[in-house]
């Protein structure tokens, strides 16, 4: 049924949209209540990506749409201004700098969170009108190595397969991907499929034993960065076992011999190989045998492969194996690049990367002219621009003088992140457009432009399997927010490019984008020059656009209903229509551990947070799973550094440092440590990991080596650890370690510091905003306190005059603080009952049964306890006394005991 919106009564109706987060691109059915601007989200059963499923993050989208943290008005130097003033400032600022220093003195740093239509106009403005290719994207950090790999092998950036392949495969190899946490819905699909088909084998290749290994038949914990050895070894094994698909290779591929020769050379004998990889030789043999014997093989890979100084080579070493066996483009077969962002693929399609031009075209002379003809552009960029890391280096060095950051947070996410700060600090004009007001990057902005966020944005996104879906607005733009494409077009118009950016709707942009994809996209032999072709949409009506159903590109005359797979019969997009196998020489990460920096830092995602947490951290529910940054390390390493679980550790590299608690996890390899990438300076004082990460990049993709940085760790000598839970916002205390997390009715701070507190109870009161105990009276707050000074343990709670919990603060000399979960739940109680109040400072829910009102004061025996004993047969005060001692001392309660017996 082709229904995208249906009414559920006057104020509630539903709309179909897509999730804001990862590259799985799940469909969502949102029930919208316009009155209170709230929604309920459910997985959309009809969407082919998720078939009704949603993960924890997607399910919590309803909690992220409040306007509290939003940027809702344009600001210049943090002063609210009119849109005209802000847009003029940006347009004039860019224009002046371009006039004085040329177009390469400006840059856009954009995001896989933008919709395709936003992305398209940003790319068009920079590459066709400003005349520079200095537009790069945070997708650089996530899949640019895959782009290079695809292009080198296939001629185009083509994902050959689709999700359906995972449900037809007999061997699923997950490489460098914690699918269970990072792409949970796809993981669930694989898990379900494997449950129903027990013969299906799952192999996980990951230095860490992650949750993904729960479904693994085999886990190969290869050493960080050694993927090429593994897949060269596999190619060699395929050859040795005569599994090369000679027909396919002969007809459709070049380069096998060289690739094989190199593979043979680097593989060596199995014992050496296993040793180099750091895996068990039997496991390795098992994997090779399974792969050799299983035609229906899918190999999914993600950041563990891409984020490397040899990321592109890793990708090609995987593609080699699938090309050599012809296992590509057929059901249940193929390599599969899993992208991180909801619209990284859309960004690739419009060409929103500094090393692509547009619509899957690179900067060849032909392409530049072609696009110029299409756009009628006055200032075509003719060559690659600066890519993320280089772009921020150029900003720091002053080559780039104006930068516009859209929907991303590079101060948190780029490697060597303090360099990004330095760069932005020096930059003449920093513009951000974002839906969130307070971000680490926003702190450096001269101009802040309020963009619409998910639930308001409207356009298209493309997921990892090339499926274009509509993301629909559920609400009109909040306050003064504008859609990114509108903001970009307004600036473009003010820069003098009125006609080229005078779109009325996002559908106008989509149609132009579709038309460009089909523009001059046929060879003399009448085959497509470029894989990306959605020319069938060039004439889409507004209504058809509104009702567009999820579809896998290409969508053109040849494939009017889209296309699930590529390359089963070759037809690659290279000159000779053949794929290219590459001879890949394995390389270790750029910076290797040394005496000074003996450990290897690996970074990644956690289950319930997204990127720099600007939105997911708004959802209390998502802050529960893991609420603090952490440094995961093997027990042996922890022991060697004299670290216990939960203690703080400094991680430092040549580039910077961070501070976070230790989590001991011997599923990691000794020598490796893992830190989540998410925490920002807005949420933690010292939890940003990227200042530590080396800014090394892949020479071809320029993707940073975020998975490998040599580091040293040292214990942080904390004098105390503490936490605060408060109904009201709390200013961060002056201490070295602070992490804040939002709860449903409270804010939580985790704290630690190296200096002892003189007056702990009073200090905690001051944290909560009260100079001393007397100051509580003004707000009718009651103080509960607990102290065990000999153990340096101090706890307080504040209760308001409605018996509601107002705040809790606790201090200990070590990490042995009570769990926060139960305490946090008490903020949701409209009134604390007596038992909860008395248990509060224990941090534990009231233990044991409710004994009821005390009847026997001498032995503290309660009414409920006595009544229970009576029911069990204690029918006289004497028997009650024998059983419970009640009434056997002063005896004054005996009449009451008699009454209970009488009522019993």
């Amino acid at each position: 049924m082709n229904v995208i919106a249906k009414s559920l009564g006057s104020s509630t109706h539903t709309k179909h949209t897509t999730c804001a987060y990862c590259g799985v691109g799940c469909g969502i059915e949102a029930s919208i209540n316009e009155k209170d601007r709230s929604i309920k989200v459910n997985g959309l059963a009809e969407h082919p990506a998720n078939l009704g499923r949603l993960c924890s993050k997607g399910s919590a989208l309803d909690q992220t749409i409040s306007l509290n943290e939003r940027l809702l008005e344009p600001k210049i130097n943090n002063e609210t201004v009119s849109w005209d003033a802000a847009l003029d400032k940006v347009a004039n600022g860019f224009k002046n700098i371009i006039e004085q220093h040329g177009p390469d003195a400006v840059a856009f740093y954009v995001s896989g969170q933008l919709l395709t239509e936003d992305y398209y106009v940003a790319n068009k403005l920079m590459k066709g009108y400003i005349g520079s290719a200095n537009i790069d994207t945070n997708s650089r950090l996530c899949m640019s190595s895959s782009v290079v790999g695809h292009k080198r092998a296939f001629g185009t950036d083509t994902v050959p397969g689709c999700y359906d392949d995972f449900e037809h495969a007999e061997l699923i190899t997950l490489v460098g991907s914690n699918t269970a946490w990072c792409h949970p819905v796809l993981f669930q699909r694989i898990k379900k499929y494997k449950e129903n088909n027990p013969h299906v084998k799952v192999v996980v290749v990951d230095p860490r034993r992650t949750q993904t290994c729960d479904i693994a038949d085999l886990h190969l914990p290869i050493n960080l960065g050694t993927d090429v050895w593994l897949f060269n070894g596999l190619l060699n094994a395929l050859n040795l076992q005569n599994k090369i698909h000679s027909d396919y290779v002969q007809q459709h591929c070049d380069g096998l011999d060289d690739a094989l020769a190199q593979a043979q050379k680097s593989a060596g004998d199995m014992a050496t190989l296993a040793n180099n990889l750091g895996v068990n030789i039997d496991d390795l043999t098992q994997f090779y045998n399974w792969f050799c014997q299983t035609e229906k093989s899918v190999t999914l890979y993600s950041q563990g492969v891409n984020q490397s100084s040899s990321g592109s080579d890793k990708v090609n070493s995987i593609l080699n194996c699938h090309l050599a066996t012809g296992r590509i483009g057929k059901p249940g077969m193929g390599p599969f690049s899993m992208t991180g962002q909801p619209n990284a693929m859309g960004g690739r399609e419009v060409g929103g990367l500094a090393n692509t031009l547009a619509a899957h075209m690179d900067f060849t002379e032909d392409n530049v002219q072609r696009v110029q003809r299409f756009w009628q552009a006055p200032n075509m960029a003719t060559q690659n621009g600066l890519m993320a890391v280089d772009m921020f280096n150029a900003i720091e060095s002053g080559k780039i003088k104006a930068v516009w950051v859209m929907a991303t947070n590079p101060v948190v996410s780029l490697p060597n992140a303090d360099q990004v700060k330095r760069a932005l600090e020096k930059c003449e004009l920093v513009v951000i457009s974002d839906c969130i007001d307070q971000t680490d990057t926003g702190d450096f902005a001269h101009v802040k432009l309020p963009a619409t966020g998910w639930s308001e944005k409207d356009g298209t996104v493309t997921n990892s399997e090339r499926r274009i879906s509509r993301q629909r607005s559920l609400f009109p733009p909040a306050c003064h927010a504008m859609h990114d494409w509108q903001i970009i077009c307004e600036v473009a118009k003010r820069m003098g490019f009125h006609d080229a950016f005078n779109y009325q709707t996002q559908a106008d942009i989509f149609r132009e984008h579709a038309a460009l994809s089909g523009f001059e996209n046929s060879s003399a032999a009448n085959h497509k020059l470029r894989d990306f072709d959605i020319s069938a949409f060039a004439q889409l009506s507004n209504d058809e656009y509104e009702h567009l159903q999820p579809i896998q590109w290409p969508v053109n005359n040849d494939f009017p209903n889209g296309r699930d797979r590529f390359f089963a019969n070759g037809e690659f997009f290279t000159e000779n229509r053949k794929a290219k196998l590459l001879a890949i020489e394995p390389k270790l990460p750029k910076n290797l551990p040394s005496n000074d920096y003996p450990l290897r830092l690996n970074t990644g995602r956690i289950r319930d947070q997204w990127h720099t947490m600007t939105r997911t951290a708004l959802a209390a529910q998502l802050n529960q799973h893991i609420s603090q940054p952490y440094v995961e390390m093997h027990a042996d390493d922890a022991k060697q550094h004299k670290l216990l679980e939960g203690e703080l550790v400094r991680v430092h590299s040549k580039w910077g440092e961070m501070l976070a608690p230790v989590t001991i996890n011997s599923q990691l390899k000794s020598g490796d440590i893992f830190v989540p990438m998410h925490w920002t300076a807005k949420l933690s004082r010292t939890g940003r990991v990227n200042p530590v990460v080396n800014p090394e990049v892949d020479p071809f993709s320029k993707q940073p080596e975020s998975k490998h940085t040599p580091v040293q760790v040292s214990p942080y000598q904390a004098a105390w650890f503490g936490f605060v839970l408060s109904r009201e916002e709390v200013t961060w205390p002056e201490c070295d370690y602070v992490v804040s997390a939002k709860g449903s009715s409270h804010t939580r701070l985790e704290l630690a510091h190296s200096k002892t507190l003189n007056n702990p109870i009073q200090t905690m009161l001051q944290w909560l905003g009260f100079e001393n105990e007397q100051a509580l009276q003004a707000q009718n707050l009651e103080l509960l306190s607990f102290e065990d000074p000999a153990l340096s343990t101090y706890r307080i709670a504040l209760i308001d005059n409605n018996k509601q919990l107002h705040a809790v603060a606790m201090l200990a000399p070590d990490t042995q603080l009570p769990e926060r979960t139960w305490l946090a739940s008490q903020f949701a109680q409209p009134e604390l009952n007596d038992r909860a109040r008395m248990a509060l400072l224990s941090g534990y829910a009231p233990a044991g049964e409710d004994i009821g009102r005390i009847v026997c004061a001498c032995f503290s025996v309660g009414e409920n306890t006595i009544a229970k004993a009576v029911k069990k047969g204690c029918c006289s005060p004497q028997l009650v006394g024998e059983k419970l001692k009640a009434g056997t001392n002063c005896g004054s309660c005996v009449p009451e005991i008699k009454a209970i017996i009488a009522n019993g």
């Binding site: 009651e782 306190s785 044991g848 001392n889």
Partner: protein
């Protein structure tokens, strides 16, 4: 012939002894002498009686028929006061001249209230707070007079003061330190108590030293060392008790502050035993009910010739019997130079709790406002339990400590299993 057991004293210790003896098969012909004309009543309940919360019937433990049913001869009343013990002939003589022989004698004469030896102590309207007669006296005076002074802010004094306040009198408590109930409370708990009682209408004159009581026949005012005076129609002295050892001394039994007894409650005369507030055991005298009960059990055991039990003095917990006031204290709640304290406060709710720890054992506790866990701390104190494993949970009670211990135990077990 059945051996004759004579018990002098029909107070709480005597009654408990009877209860213990009759609960087991004893082989005695028992005679009990009491100088109050009642059966046996719960003296602890005098305060609720004074406050009007209970009646005399409510506080009776054993009424006269009980004695008959159990074949015990009760000789109660002023005339039946034992005035002499004739150890040589093994018999006791009452005021009205009755002579009763014994094979074994138990002295349970209790204590006398201590009266300040000051000018005017013998005036009308000056009394102690010890027995039903005192209570009746106070109730009748409260109906005709307005102003009362209670000397002594101990348990009895405060209970008397509140009782009189409840009966409509304007009552001032006079105390010689700055902390009410200073034997039971530390300064902080004491001040919470004082505040609570003041809220209920009681007045306090603290750090006061009483010089004299003045009046014609009746007491009219009380004079203090600082020169101040208070009008008083009634003065209740509740400043302590002295073991009642007159009879014992007269018959030459060895006494110090009390009648000195062994661990089996035997005096220096092997036929004579003593228990309750009249005794001295290993240098200690007694004023609370719990040790009396323990003594009664030991003595009954001994008299029944089971002969294994020994009395041992343990720290005793105290409570104030004033409705709505909850306090508990046990052991050394003030602490030592080397002790550690764990403190919980919720001042607005009038809650203050302190546990004193030394060498990882509880040595004392004072609880004000929330006394539920008092018996638990008392038990840990008695058992000299190493509280380290439960220290973080201790303040929050037995249930949490047990729940956490279970978790710890099961974790340990799991670990052991893994290790095995």
């Amino acid at each position: 012939m059945t051996a004759k057991l004579v018990i002098i004293g029909n107070g709480m210790a005597g009654a408990k002894l009877l209860e213990e003896l009759t609960a087991n098969d004893h082989a005695y012909d028992i005679t009990v002498f009491g100088n109050e004309p009642y059966g046996n009543y719960n003296r602890i309940m005098l305060s609720p009686l004074l406050a009007g919360e209970k009646t005399i019937n409510d506080i009776m433990i054993f009424d006269r028929p009980w004695y008959e049913q159990h074949g015990i001869s009760l000789q109660a009343g002023e005339d039946k006061t034992v005035v002499k013990i004739d150890r040589l002939r093994k018999r006791v003589i009452t005021k009205d001249g009755e002579i009763t022989p014994y094979d074994r004698l138990v002295i349970a004469t209790g204590s006398n209230p201590f009266m300040l030896p000051i000018e005017g102590a013998d005036l009308d309207g000056v009394m102690s707070f010890r027995d039903i007669r005192d209570v009746e006296n106070m109730i009748s005076l409260s109906k005709r007079h307005k102003k009362a002074v209670v000397i002594g802010a101990g348990l009895l004094g405060l209970e008397a003061a509140m009782g009189l306040t409840d009966r409509g009198m304007d009552v001032t408590v006079v105390h010689n330190t700055n902390i009410p109930l200073n034997r039971q409370l530390d300064e902080e708990a004491g001040s919470l108590l004082q505040h609570a009682l003041e809220t209920r209408g009681l007045n306090f004159k603290m750090n006061a030293s009483t010089l004299a009581l003045k009046g014609q026949e009746r007491v009219e005012k009380i004079c203090f060392a600082d020169g101040s005076e208070l009008e008083a129609d009634m003065v209740v002295m509740a400043i302590g008790i002295r073991p009642n050892i007159q009879l014992a001394q007269d018959c030459g039994l060895y006494c110090q502050n009390g009648i000195v007894v062994s661990d089996t409650l035997q005096t220096y005369d092997p036929s004579i035993y003593a228990l309750g507030e009249c005794i001295e055991h290993r240098g200690e005298t007694f004023g609370l009910v719990a040790p009396l009960y323990d003594q009664a059990k030991v003595l009954a055991n001994h008299l029944s010739e089971h002969g294994v039990a020994q009395f041992q003095t343990l720290p005793t917990a105290t409570k104030l019997k004033v409705t709505g006031i909850h306090l508990f204290s046990v052991g050394n709640f003030l602490g030592t130079d080397t002790s550690e304290s764990i403190i919980y406060r919720h001042s607005q709710q009038g809650v203050y709790k302190k546990i004193v720890i030394e060498d990882n054992q509880i040595i004392g506790a004072v609880l004000y406002g929330d006394t539920q866990e008092g018996p638990f701390y008392h038990e840990l104190l008695d058992q000299q339990m190493d509280i380290r494993p439960i220290r973080p949970y201790l303040m929050f009670g037995q249930a949490l400590c047990e729940a956490q211990s279970e978790i710890m135990t099961s974790t340990t077990q799991n670990n052991t299993e893994v290790a095995a």
